[in-house]
């Protein structure tokens, strides 16, 4: 296959960026999208042009490091698939492919296609955990978790933190990520003691960096792990309840 790429090039966080055309020749349909970019980079390097910077690592769709806007779609055209798992057989000979980084105020560009997603870490640090100092746990089978609950929690926990939800959202909102993280823990019996403080802290932290959710649902479509929009509803419900529950805790404390 012969393709034309239009790739976003930007020298650094504050430098101006623009789309640059590069040919991608003799591409095999068996290649993954990132392997195609590897070939393009090899050629650029040979020509004395600095290779395109892009984040990637495991290339198995689990680390969440990769993430490109491909023809305007986060992670490209294949549903439930991270960029690294997308293969060139999904494209046609002669196609022009536009490749851009995640674009969101919460994800400043580092260089070219690589962005800084550390705001996601800030949200987790605010409350995305169960407090359990090492060694303080009791025997695992003392906490019974109904099978369906474990499965539901796992559905949420499957989030890879890639940021596609934010990139796909017209408001650059991070509700799907945050909701998945909250649901993973708050659905489980182990997560109950911190349930109300967790949701409040994480939502408030999220709002420092990201836009608001207006239920477009683009995030769910873009999510490579197909995380359900239902978790956002659960988060909103819990957030509202927390406003009462946490106040009660405060008043009880005197």
């Amino acid at each position: 296959m012969d393709l034309t790429l239009q790739v976003w090039r930007q020298a650094g966080p504050n430098a101006p960026g623009r789309l640059v055309d590069y040919p991608a020749k003799d591409i095999s349909p068996e290649m993954s999208f990132l392997e195609m970019l590897d070939i393009v980079n090899e050629n650029l390097n040979a020509q004395g042009i600095e290779p395109i910077a892009f984040d990637h690592d495991c290339r198995e769709g689990i680390c969440g490091m990769c993430g490109l806007m491909i023809n305007g779609l986060a992670h490209g055209p294949q549903l439930g698939t991270a960029t690294c798992q997308l293969h060139m057989r999904k494209f046609n000979d002669g196609d022009t492919i536009v490749i851009e980084p995640w674009k969101a105020a919460g994800f400043p560009i580092v260089r070219d296609l690589a962005v800084d997603r550390s705001t996601f870490d800030r949200i987790i640090e605010a409350g995305g955990f169960i407090t359990v100092p090492t060694g303080s746990a009791s025997d695992a089978n003392l906490t019974l978790v109904p099978k369906e609950v474990a499965e539901w929690s796992m559905d949420a926990a499957a989030c890879i933190g890639c940021g596609a939800c934010v990139a796909a959202c017209p408001n650059s909102a991070a509700q799907l990520f945050t909701a998945a993280k909250i649901a993973h823990l708050s659905l489980l019996p182990q997560g109950q003691p911190e349930r109300w403080t967790r949701v409040e802290a994480m939502v408030d932290k999220m709002e420092e960096f990201f836009g608001s959710c207006t239920n477009h649902g683009e995030c769910e479509t873009a999510c490579p792990k197909e995380i359900s929009l239902d978790f956002i509803a659960l988060m909103n419900k819990d957030y509202m309840k927390a406003k009462f529950k946490n106040r009660r805790l405060v008043s009880q404390a005197g």
Partner: protein, 640 residues
Amino acid sequence: MVLELDAKIPEGDLDTLWEKHKFDMKLVNPNNKRKFDVIVVGTGLAGASAAASLAELGYNVKAFTFHDSPRRAHSIAAQGGINAAKNYHGDGDSVFRLFYDTVKGGDYRSREENVYRLAEVSLNIIDQATAQGVPFAREYGGKLDNRSFGGAQVSRTFYARGQTGQQLLLGAYQSLARVVGLGQVEMHTRTEMLDVVVKDGRAVGIVTRNLITGEIESHSAHAVVLATGGYSNVYYLSTNAMACNATAIWRAHRRGAAFANPCYTQIHPTCIPSAEEFQSKLTLMSESLRNDGRIWVSKKAGDDRKANEIPENERDYYLERRYPAFGNLVPRDVASRNAEAMINEGKGVGPLKNGVYLDFADSIKRLGEDTIRERYGNLFEMYERITDENPYEVPMRIYPAPHYTMGGLWVDYHLMTNIPGLYAIGEANFSDHGANRLGASALMQGLADGYFVLPYTIGNYLAPMLGEPLVPTDDVAFTEVESEVTERTNHWLSIKGTRSADYFHRELGKIMIAHCGMSRNEAGLKQALIEIPALYEEFKKDVKVLGSAETFNQSLENVQRVDDYFQLAELMCLDALKREESCGGHCREESQTEDGEALRNDDDFAYVAAWEWTGDPGKAEVTKEPLDFKYVKLSQRSYK
């Protein structure tokens, strides 16, 4: 010079050794812990669990990762599960059995005392992870479910779908995030460690490069912990993530840390065979698939029929045939070697004839497609995405690929290298898996080291140092290393050759897999020891790295890693050459039984080979730590 290696294994009975030793070790008073700074490099299972645990204890922790977030480490890609001797299913498991299986699975090349401790703390890991909210699979009654794994006859593997590594890492990451949020850990992301600083024989800090700004920085501490993973990427094509590298442990080795058993690498039996030359990495399909999949090839060499066209009586289920007791669940090394043998006999399947079938038809018939989907759904999807074939309908094709390295920095019972104050945990050390790691044991070891071993042992080193100030980063010990690192980094940009670092890495990988892969022989290894230095010379003259050292420059990051692989590759071949026995993950062709099984040589090779840097990896010097077995009876492994 021969190294002084003291494994510091305490005296006493195996089953009370660790408990007693925990009491005997020196303690740091809770109020004094904040007077100590500890650096943890790497935030995978071992690093994140160690950093979180040390910070909870009260130490000042500085953690480093080259990723954009500590949650990205390659532990995240582990699929199948984590072993623990809980015996929740009453099928005869025990700490002693897990210990025994691990020593046997490792082909009797690990320390009994370390492995016993690992089996002991496996119980605590499951408790800890469950309490953190790791959504392990459950039975209908709400209790934890288990599955079986290769090399064991009990069901002791806990799992979270096919994403166990991800969930355990998120558990450790979230614990780490909590203490980062509380200010107890200073987290440095996109920061790569490029050297260790040693002063007066002790590790006193590290030198790093900020991957975004290119700034070279020094960090001082009372102790340095390396949790930087393994080095399978030396083969170029492996199941490791693209950025996994040996730089941290290799640089530590060059500063004096002994490198143990570098040739012990694991070639994982169930990976998706490579499709073409441009392939950038290989994808693993969890070994747990062997629970329900049957491995076979056609009885006829060069059979071009499709899998479904080959009738049952013309199929060779070679593992079930050769190893009736374990069948498809033989340990990884046995499964891999047999697959290689089948392909060498011309029975390989797929377009490039480079795979064997893993067939689920029988299990789907027996259990129904829904059950199989529930157990392996995400793996089947992943397979289909990569190969465009539907494994519910046609058998998967699998082939062995480099996956894990049992070798690593030499450590004592405290997980300390021979440089005082420098620790290595998780895959970065050599300690627990001998010459072959059993499935679902990597997650166990990483978390054992990080949660339950290092936090105890490090106190023993730190306690006598109370009141000692940190070595300031403007000390000549730091400034010298800083200028070496700066010079080395800038050097790559000045070569201005013609070929990329990836090109050389691919070529190095080809040499390594051909001569230092599953099967090795003297002639091949000697050949590799000629080819590697020759290619390395070419690399140093002809590599082309563009851009600057003051920006985000992925080619520059890569070239330094490839440089370290070249040196390590030479050491691996040297170690392999000297180990004139078949053991664990590899077959030394000169050492086989009459029926072609691997033949170990306990009389001459029951030792740990600890290599010392001499300035030239091809002339490294070896010190042998003899392995003494008091509880496990050495036998030629048989899974028949």
